[in-house]
């Protein structure tokens, strides 16, 4: 029978103050987890409001036409800037990365805590903006609308600015940690692939995020002083805003998906009990994705009025992004071949990811094709594609990671039966919601409309019911995960029988992570060389 060790990072200090002043990367990860979960449910509530309004064709069924624009804007801003971008790196990266490297903490523990405070500071700006006029520009803040309307654009974009710094600090911290704090024997190519993906994400965070910071500062200056950089009557160019915005926001898509891909590399090897197929290919493809993601931003602007030449170049370059992503997917599938696969919850989420991300990625190629894009621009097809990548990719991978590391974080196992039911609800609910939207988009329903004609009624109703099922599945997930924190069965050090270093320490880990400094004697997935005892007793 497994027991919870008396001395662990959760019991090391007590009281709210000990949490708010902690420098322990594990506790900071949990602080992020709590705040991000809160915003995830706020953003989810906005999503359900959208689906409730769009359940039936009549106007103002649930919300006023004018409020509808605010609701979808807030859904987007919250989910992207406050949830998905920080989710995997700041929660799981914080908790797991130093453990996987065999380190005591991240390189700069104080900076780590500061980045959480910056995140909360930025989030408070976002909340302030919601209650003082709101924003209805969409999450992209396009000029000239955003520079001219009478709403709280400044506080919302400042929220993005501040949270951007939080993201840069996190990325910087992880890059230095990976360079400097690897345990003896942990060479670059003995690092778990999750660490590689966090490394590539860190580069993106450090290189791309300043550009969105500068962009929103220009937007604010434009509103306050009318400097005219985006105003054609003063020699400016509104399309320039879109260039600057997407120079960050396309790589940001990879800030959101790369860490998720790292999680999948971990869960798929641990659950198949097999060495990863093509370690170096997966590691390098993370860097390849990071690099190519900087060259393709114009594919968001095919109908913006940018030059035909630029559109052709961007369309051509976009296809290169598919290569490193496909390398990963093929390698994961090959890893499963002849593996001894356990169908625990993390594996079910991993399968969900493989299916949903592949659909999301392939429909991205449709949209990257210039001629097809012109037809599908601003339809629900784009919305569906984006959600398949961001929700079906990033969030599903995050859930896979949460279920995989939950017993390590709290030392306790959740109810596997409920977890599998919830996973099924999420998978079915998600597909019902967004396959309908692919079809709606193909039929020509434009996005961001509060109302629609009756020919779209059936699919919209279907999509809404899917969203409610998805929401119920996520709520159930929150309930059993929280229940497990207090009442779950002790999980033991290594419930999945994995080989990476975080499973060699106790669950929950002690304050300093390891009783004695670990050494990496073998690769992270050398299942063919090592036999480990799994500690999950049924």
């Amino acid at each position: 029978m497994n027991t919870i060790p008396e001395q662990n990072f959760l019991t090391a200090e007590k009281g709210l103050k000990s949490w708010l002043t902690t420098l322990d990367h594990k506790r900071i990860g949990i602080l992020y987890l709590i705040s991000i979960t809160f915003f995830f449910f706020v953003g989810g509530l906005f999503a359900l409001m959208i689906r409730l309004e769009l359940m039936f064709p009549q106007d103002e069924f649930f919300i006023k036409l004018d409020d509808f624009n605010q609701v979808f804007t807030l859904h987007g801003v919250i989910m992207i800037f406050l949830v998905i971008i920080p989710s995997v790196p700041a929660v799981l990266g914080n908790f797991v990365l130093p453990l996987q490297l065999g380190a005591k903490d991240v390189a700069f523990p104080r900076l780590n805590l500061a980045s959480w405070y910056l995140y909360m500071f930025g989030a408070s700006f976002a909340l302030f903006s919601i209650f003082t006029g709101g924003v209805d520009t969409g999450w992209t803040f396009y000029a000239p609308y955003s520079t001219t309307i009478d709403r709280s654009v400044i506080s919302m974009t400042m929220a993005v600015f501040i949270i951007g710094f939080s993201s840069i600090f996190t990325g910087l911290n992880f890059i230095v940690t990976i360079h400097k704090l690897r345990a003896p024997g942990m060479t670059w190519f003995r690092m778990p692939l999750f660490a590689w993906s966090i490394y590539a994400t860190g580069i993106l965070q450090v290189v791309a995020t300043p550009v969105i910071g500068i962009t929103v500062v220009l937007l604010v200056l434009e509103r306050l002083l009318g400097i005219g950089i985006f105003d054609p009557t003063m020699g400016g160019d509104p399309v320039l805003f879109q260039h600057f915005f997407w120079f960050y926001s396309h790589p940001a898509v990879y800030i959101m998906i790369l860490p998720g891909m790292g999680i999948i590399s971990e869960t798929i090897t641990a659950m198949a009990h097999k060495n990863i197929f093509g370690y170096k290919a997966i590691a390098y493809s993370s860097l390849g994705i990071a690099f190519t993601s900087f060259l393709v931003w114009g594919h968001h602007m095919f109908v913006s009025g940018q030059s035909e030449f630029a559109a052709m170049v961007f369309s051509f370059l976009t296809f290169f992004v598919a290569i490193p992503s496909a390398i990963k997917v093929f390698n994961w599938i090959a890893t499963l071949y002849k593996g001894s696969i356990s169908l625990d919850t993390p594996m079910l989420y991993t399968f969900s990811f493989l299916i949903l991300f592949t659909i999301g990625g392939l429909t991205g190629l449709f949209l990257g094709t210039l001629s097809v894009n012109v037809t599908l621009s601003d339809t629900y097809f784009v919305v569906a594609h984006f959600h398949y990548v961001m929700m079906g990719g990033s969030i599903i991978a995050f859930l896979a990671g949460l279920h995989y590391w939950w017993p390590k974080i709290w030392g306790r196992m959740y109810n596997e039966k409920l977890a599998k039911i919830a996973c099924g609800m999420v998978f079915v609910g998600f597909n019902v919601t967004f396959i309908s939207q692919f079809l709606l988009g193909l039929k020509g329903m434009p996005r961001r409309y509060a109302t629609f004609t009756s020919e779209f009624a059936q699919l919209n109703g279907f999509s809404s019911w899917g969203a409610f099922l998805l929401g119920a599945g996520l709520l159930l997930t929150a309930i059993y995960l929280i229940h497990a924190v207090y009442k779950g069965k002790p999980a033991g050090n290594n419930p999945w029988g994995a080989l990476t270093l975080e499973w060699t320490t106790s669950s929950p880990p002690p304050h300093n992570n390891f009783e004695k400094s670990p050494t990496a004697h073998y690769g992270p997935y050398d299942f063919d060389k090592i036999v480990v005892e799994s500690t999950l007793d049924d």
């Binding site: 550009v211 160019d237 399309v239 030059s307 030449f309 630029a310």
Partner: protein, 128 residues
């Protein structure tokens, strides 16, 4: 970097030499500004400015002697800035270039797809 505790110091004459070169380049800039060389004006001005900036970075700021990783970071930031500006200029410099459609004549009596029958119905070509 922090591996060796004493800071790296160059002999004084190197600093003075670099300073002199920077001054000479400044004089060249002033002289070049007097002569109109057409499109070369901007090329020359930028080339001189870049050289001066590199000299400052390499010697005054010790990039040349420091850990090569720092040079990589410096170079990549220049690279990404170049990407941002040049790809944006693919758009802004060529706006309004419309490519001619050649050799494709629209046939007036072409069969237009019609959902209600398998035979092409609407052949007038005037309406949608």
């Amino acid at each position: 970097m922090s591996e060796h505790s004493t800071p790296h110091v160059l002999p004084l004459r190197v600093y003075l030499g670099i300073g002199a070169i920077l001054l000479i380049f400044t004089i060249i800039t002033v002289i070049a500004a007097q002569i109109d060389l057409g499109f070369l004006n901007i090329v020359i001005a930028l080339a001189i400015a870049t050289t001066k900036a590199l000299l400052v970075a390499f010697f005054f700021m010790h990039l040349y002697y420091d850990n090569k990783l720092l040079f990589l970071i410096f170079a990549s930031s220049i690279f990404f800035l170049t990407v941002l500006i040049s790809l944006t200029m693919f758009d802004t410099l060529r706006r309004g270039d419309i490519y001619e459609i050649r050799d494709i004549n629209i046939e007036q009596d072409a069969i237009i797809y019609d959902e209600s029958s398998s035979v092409g119905a609407d052949t007038s070509g005037t309406n949608h």
